[in-house]
C-alpha cells in the first residue's frame, strides 16, 4: 500500500485538476442525461472561451507574482471601442473628415485599445514600483469610466452579420470562439515552453532578485506580460460583443474574479513562479462545467454561488497540501 501510493502520488498530483474535472463530469452526467451530448459540449466550450482568453493572460501575470484586476473593464472598453468605430466611425467636423472602419479595422482597434491599457498597467507598475493590485485596481475604474464616456451609458448594437460571425459562427464543425481561444492557448503554451520570454516569466515569479542578478530585464518582461494580458482581455471583449451583437457598457463586470478562480483552480500559485497555461484551461473548464451543470440540474441560484465558492476553496486547499509534499 505504502509503495503503491508513493509510485502513484506524482501522477495524481500532476493530473489533480483533470481528475477533479472527470469526477465533476461523471457526477453531473449521472444526475442529468442531457449533460453528455455533443450540443451541450460545444455550449460549454463556447461559453468558457471568453474566460479562457482572459485567464491565459491572467496566468502570465500571476506567474510573475502579479495580479490584473482590470481585465473586465478592459474587456468592456475594447469591445465598446470596436463596436463604436464599426458602427459610427470617427467624425472630425473641424476638418470635415469622416473615417469609416471595416470589421478588420474595428477588431485591430479593439485589440490595440486593450494592449495600450495593459501596457499602461505594466508601465505604472514598473516605473513607479506600484503594487500590481493597486495599479490595476485604478485601471479597473478608469477603463470602466472611459467605457461609460465612450458609450454614454447606452449599449451599441446592430453591428452586422460579418462581425457577429466571430462569436456565433462555426468552422469545420467547431464554434469559432473555440477555435480562437484554442489558438490562443496553443500559441501561449509554445511561448511559455519554447522561448526565453517564457522562461524569464517563471524566473521573475520564482525570485525577482535572482532573476535581476542573472541579467533579466525585469521591467521589459513585466510590461510585456501586462500588455499581453490587456490584448487577450480585448480579444475576450470582441468575442462577447460579437456574440451579443451588442457592446454593453457593463459587460465584463467581475470577470476578473472568474479568471482568477480559473487560474487558482488550475494550480497556479498566487505567489508566482509555479503553474501552467494548461492548468488554467482545466480550471476554466471546471468553472464552465459547474455553471452549466448547476443550471441543467436546476439548482437554486442561491446555492449555485455557495457551491462555486466551495469548489474554489477546495481547489486551493488541495493545491496547498500537494505543494507541501513536493
Amino acid at each position: 500500500m505504502q509503495i503503491s501510493l508513493q509510485t502513484y502520488r506524482p501522477i495524481i498530483l500532476k493530473f489533480q485538476s483533470l481528475i477533479a474535472l472527470l469526477l465533476l463530469c461523471i457526477t453531473i452526467g449521472v444526475l442529468s442525461d442531457k449533460f453528455f451530448t455533443v450540443a451541450n459540449g460545444w455550449n460549454v466550450l463556447r461559453q468558457i472561451s471568453v474566460n479562457i482568453c482572459i485567464s491565459v493572460g491572467m496566468t502570465l501575470v500571476v506567474l510573475t507574482a502579479g495580479i490584473d484586476l482590470s481585465v473586465g473593464s478592459v474587456l468592456a472598453l475594447s469591445g465598446a471601442i470596436a463596436a463604436g468605430l464599426l458602427r459610427n466611425g470617427i467624425e472630425l467636423p473641424a476638418n470635415n473628415l469622416y473615417i469609416g472602419f471595416t470589421v478588420f479595422g474595428a477588431i485591430v482597434a479593439g485589440i490595440l485599445t486593450g494592449s495600450l491599457l495593459g501596457w499602461f498597467n505594466g508601465w505604472a507598475i514598473t516605473r513607479f514600483k506600484l503594487p500590481p493590485f493597486v495599479a490595476t485596481l485604478a485601471m479597473l475604474t478608469i477603463a470602466r469610466g472611459l467605457t461609460m464616456l465612450w458609450t454614454e451609458g447606452f449599449p451599441i448594437t446592430g453591428l452586422g452579420d460579418s462581425f457577429t460571425f466571430l462569436g456565433t459562427g462555426w468552422f469545420l464543425g467547431i464554434p469559432l470562439p473555440v477555435w480562437i481561444s484554442g489558438g490562443i492557448v496553443l500559441v501561449t503554451v509554445l511561448l511559455m515552453d519554447q522561448t526565453r520570454f517564457g522562461r524569464y516569466v517563471y524566473a521573475i515569479g520564482g525570485s525577482e532578485s535572482a532573476a535581476r542578478l542573472s541579467g533579466v530585464n525585469i521591467n521589459r518582461i513585466k510590461i510585456g506580460v501586462y500588455t499581453l494580458a490587456g490584448a487577450l482581455a480585448a480579444v475576450g471583449g470582441l468575442l462577447v460583443t460579437s456574440r451579443l451583437d451588442s457592446a454593453q457598457p457593463n459587460a465584463g463586470t467581475s470577470y476578473e474574479l472568474d479568471s482568477i478562480a480559473a487560474v487558482v483552480i488550475g494550480g497556479t500559485s498566487l505567489s508566482g513562479g509555479r503553474g501552467s497555461i494548461l492548468g488554467t484551461v482545466q480550471g476554466a473548464v471546471i468553472i464552465g462545467v459547474l455553471n452549466n451543470g448547476l443550471v441543467l440540474l436546476n439548482v437554486s441560484p442561491f446555492w449555485q454561488q455557495v457551491v462555486k465558492g466551495i469548489v474554489i476553496l477546495l481547489a486551493v486547499i488541495i493545491d496547498k497540501s500537494s505543494a507541501k509534499g513536493e
Partner: protein, 323 residues
C-alpha cells in the same frame, strides 16, 4: 531651517484661504443663486438609469433650478458620501434613486434631519415617512399584466400536455426581482396547465441570460415560453432561442420597456414587455421638488406610476419610440 519652515506654513495658509473662499461662496449662493437640486442615482451603468438621471436633471433645470447628478455606482457607502456632500454643500432638494431598500434609509433620514426633502424615484426605501414622497413604478402590477398576456398568448396543447415554461430572474438580492416574479406568478400559478420547468438567475445581464438559456435549452428543448425579469435578459434569451432555431416554438417575454426590446416586439421577435417610463417618474419627482420649494408640504407617501404593457397587440401605438 527653511525647509522645515515652509511645509508647516504653506498648508496652514492654504487652509485659511480655502476656508475664506468657501465661507464666502456659501453666503452668496443662499442669497442670490437659484436653488440647487441633487440627483443621486444608484448606477449610471445601465441605459435605463441614465435616462432617469438625465430627465430628472433636465426637468429641474427647465424649472429654473441648478441640478447636479451623483452616481452611487450601486454602492451604498458611496451613496452615503454623496448625501453628506450634498447636505454640506447646501443642496435644497434631493431626487433620489436608492441603491438598497434598507441600506439607504439612513441616508434619507440624514437629509430629513438637515431639512432637505428627498423624493425617491423608481426604487423605494423601506421606511414610511423618511422620504418626502416615493414615486415608484408598479413592478408587481406590471408583471400581473405580463402574466395575463403570457397565459393568453401561449396556446393550449391539443394533446392536453402541460405547457412548459422557464423564468429568468434578475439579481436575487433585489426587491424588484421578487416583486416582478410574484406579480407574474400570481397569475400564471392559477393555471394548472402551465408548468415552470426551470427558474434561474441571470443577474439582469444579457450575456448571462444567453448562457443560462443555452444550458436550459439542453435540459428542456421542448419549452414553450420564457419570462425574463428585465429586457436585457429577454434579448439574451431570444439570442439563445434563435441560435437553437426555435423562434417559432418558444415565446420570449421581458420587462422594462428598453428600446431594443420594443423594436424586437415590432419585428415579431419578442412577445411583450412592461414599459416603465423613467421619464414620467423623473419628471414627477422634479415637479414635486418644485411644489415643495413653492411651499407645498402634503405629498402622497407613495405615488405609483403605471407600467404599460407593450405587446404584439398594441405595438403600433409605440412605433414612435423606435424612430
Amino acid at each position: 531651517m527653511n525647509q522645515a519652515f515652509f511645509p508647516k506654513k504653506i498648508p496652514l495658509f492654504a487652509l485659511i484661504i480655502t476656508l475664506l473662499i468657501f465661507g464666502g461662496c456659501q453666503k452668496t449662493s443662499s442669497e442670490n443663486q437659484p436653488k440647487q437640486v441633487a440627483v443621486i442615482i444608484s448606477t449610471l451603468n445601465n441605459p435605463w438609469f441614465v435616462v432617469l438621471a438625465e430627465t430628472a436633471a433636465a426637468q429641474a433645470k427647465s424649472l429654473g433650478y441648478e441640478a447636479k447628478i451623483f452616481d452611487s455606482q450601486n454602492n451604498t457607502a458611496l451613496e452615503t458620501d454623496h448625501f453628506e456632500n450634498a447636505i454640506v454643500s447646501g443642496f435644497d432638494a434631493i431626487l433620489f434613486n436608492p441603491t438598497d431598500a434598507d441600506g439607504s434609509v439612513v441616508n434619507v433620514l440624514k437629509a430629513k434631519e438637515a431639512g432637505i426633502p428627498v423624493f425617491c424615484m423608481d426604487r423605494e426605501v423601506n421606511s414610511s415617512g423618511a422620504a418626502t414622497s416615493q414615486i415608484l413604478s408598479d413592478n408587481y402590477a406590471g408583471c400581473v399584466a405580463i402574466g395575463k398576456y403570457f397565459v393568453q398568448t401561449i396556446p393550449k396543447k391539443p394533446s392536453g400536455d402541460a405547457i412548459k415554461y422557464v423564468e429568468i430572474l434578475g439579481l436575487v438580492g433585489d426587491n424588484n426581482t421578487w416583486n416582478r416574479s410574484k406579480g407574474f406568478h400570481s397569475v400564471v400559478d392559477s393555471y394548472p396547465a402551465f408548468k415552470m420547468v426551470a427558474q434561474q438567475s441571470a443577474d439582469f445581464d444579457r450575456n448571462k441570460a444567453l448562457e443560462v438559456v443555452e444550458s436550459i435549452l439542453q435540459a428542456h428543448p421542448d419549452i414553450d415560453g420564457i419570462f425574463c425579469g428585465n429586457d436585457a435578459m429577454a434579448m439574451g434569451a431570444y439570442q439563445a432561442v434563435m441560435a437553437a432555431g426555435k423562434t417559432r416554438e418558444i415565446k420570449v417575454y421581458g420587462f422594462d420597456g428598453a428600446l431594443d426590446v420594443i423594436e424586437s416586439i415590432s419585428n415579431g421577435k419578442i412577445m411583450a414587455t412592461g414599459l416603465q417610463s423613467p421619464e414620467t417618474m423623473a419628471k414627477t419627482a422634479a415637479l414635486y421638488a418644485d411644489d415643495y420649494f413653492k411651499g407645498k408640504r402634503d405629498f402622497p407617501q407613495k405615488m405609483p406610476v403605471a407600467v404599460e404593457l407593450v405587446s404584439q397587440a398594441n405595438i403600433k401605438d409605440y412605433s414612435a419610440l423606435i424612430k
